[in-house]
Subunit: 427 residues, 2 copies
Amino acid sequence: MHRDYRSYSREELLREEEELKKEYERFRAMNLSLTMTRGGPCREQVDLSEGMLQVIDSGAKCFSGKTDIRNYGMLDGIPEMKQIFADLLHVMPENVICGGNSSLNMMYDAISRAMVFGTAPGFVPWSKQRELKFLCPVPGYDRHFAICEVFGIKMIPIEMTSAGPDMHEVREYAENDPTVKGIWCVPKYSNPDGTVYSPETVRAFASLRPAARDFRIFWDNAYCVHDLYEEIPLTDIFAECRSVGAKNMVYEFASTSKISFPGSGVACLVADEADILWAKKLLSFQTIGPDKINQKRHAAFFRTADGIRAHMKKHAEILRPKFETVEATLDRELEGRGIADFSRPRGGYFISFNQTIGSVRRAVALTADAGVALTPAGSAFPYHEDPYDRNVRIAPTFPSIEDLKTACELFSVAVRIAACERLLGMN
Amino acid sequence: MHRDYRSYSREELLREEEELKKEYERFRAMNLSLTMTRGGPCREQVDLSEGMLQVIDSGAKCFSGKTDIRNYGMLDGIPEMKQIFADLLHVMPENVICGGNSSLNMMYDAISRAMVFGTAPGFVPWSKQRELKFLCPVPGYDRHFAICEVFGIKMIPIEMTSAGPDMHEVREYAENDPTVKGIWCVPKYSNPDGTVYSPETVRAFASLRPAARDFRIFWDNAYCVHDLYEEIPLTDIFAECRSVGAKNMVYEFASTSKISFPGSGVACLVADEADILWAKKLLSFQTIGPDKINQKRHAAFFRTADGIRAHMKKHAEILRPKFETVEATLDRELEGRGIADFSRPRGGYFISFNQTIGSVRRAVALTADAGVALTPAGSAFPYHEDPYDRNVRIAPTFPSIEDLKTACELFSVAVRIAACERLLGMN
């Protein structure tokens, strides 16, 4: 436990800064080249699915029932894969569309369809409406926000609480402003905070009565089975919607990108019947079908949702020590200094770091200059605008434990330098 | 050689019709269930790529240079696959984006991007323009026309000649009407006629000076290496464009759907530098990258463009007798009757059948009633409007030779019945 910087005298701060700069130079001299930017699985995780490369090794195995899946067709994917996603997400297979390798692409396409064709037959396409807004819980996922930005959808930040987005704010906007068309949610192990939405939050979502009839909740369940410790259940949003009679309000997304291969997984869209019908109708103009052999690889390798759950325990074994290394290193270097805190997630891919004293941009720049890349500060906010210059997302999954330790030590030094400078009025 | 129906007396026609109806009932009694609808490879063709299911069987083989292709990244595909497409299509790899399994999806996305974002930075999106038109050589590919229809792009039919689209018509429209934004072309073994555009036609395309600066030629080179007999070269459109200084006018598409696996191939977009940059920029919001392991499978299995060319000779050996069966059967049944003709393509996937006497809809319906599905008459025309009720596309690739013979015999009977009825003034 260190002493709080805010109790330091000016001289103490100057001395501290001088010491830290020397330490920083020692890191620079190491010529590091590390990255903790994106949430990519490491080689050992990817190796866990080695068997998937061999499981479909003949044409005879390329059948789904009597259908030769090497050929065209099956717009919404093979039944085996739909069943697995349905079981994982507690929905019915007929509510699932299995697509290609990217859930991001399915989210982009869902927005694109809403823009050009509307969310349902007869609805005015979003692009023909006067103004469009999306609610964006912050900190959040930069690629969600980028989709809004490229489509010209205005983003409204919503504060995250420990139970999920501030539902009072969400309700205020969604129920009173018909130009609010949607909200981005990562309901389990939110990116980057690692928050699991509470049952009350999920229920509050199901109970929303949006002013816009073409409002959709984008429920990006990217980390649905990505527990690091015990399995933490997420309340089922579709079940909650059914119980209050809400329909066609949720698009759920998931994928095996962080289960099998990040570049060669299978993604899915889950929605109510009418939403699925409309998506499939429009999809039929776009493609003849997804890569079904790859879906079959997944179905044959994992067999069931339980097969995936068992597989994820192996991922967790690799990832737990990495998360714990980051947490322990940051604790050791920063605890008690009164300049920072960070999330201690029970799953997902990120640790959300807050330089509470507000000069994280400087800390990230110093860290980068010494050879360790972090996600640019501000990335977790719409338009990259972090109002408090505070948040950065740490992705502990890809580097080795050794490298993580070094990177976090360097980062801690950078955070302390930036804090000294801030307290000295230099930034 | 049969006698021309048009020389039959009324009594002769009635007698002929009566005989044909008996023959037709014999076919109906066979309870056939065959399809010659879509251009799908048959099982034997798909089996040719069996080795592709085994070629990448370990993580160690999942590398492109030093990059682990199982992980995220490489937005425009792996270099090996870009090189193969570049060699096949006589372009540079930097002009190639390798995508997922569907060139149709890449075409749809190209239109979608133009609709929402415009064809280049600063250009007005198509969807914000007053009116949009596409030129559609007819007969053509129904899925091209369907994309126009769903996006509300008005289609103008252009007559096909034996050298490609009527370039006088194309020039008239494209160079004088700024609402004409594009044209669909299948330049080699056009769907369904099997026409290879002549060097003069390709040059005329390159020399177009469209009134719309955001005009694009959609060059769907679906059958670029799909020769049934000798290799027939297609004049290179990008080379011709370069030689006359035309830039950013062509989007070329190709895929391995009819080379490896129809549902699990690799598709590509080829374009000039600025068009590629813009596409990649927008693509970066849509996805993190395509399925690179599947691209690697293709690169490892085929190795080079020549590897693909050699592979296509095996396809041709399977397909040639099928095309010849259709041609021989139709010749035997219909030649000289003065009621029909059909294309005799040197490659591609279709035979274009014209019931010159103009009652093909009736013939297709009769054929379907007896258990043989053909593409609905009119499908090869925008809005399904065949002005002469004449054309139907026959896809000989999927059924067995035996089945093709039966199907064509039945179809010939149906064509003759429909012709008799037409000549008798009954339809």
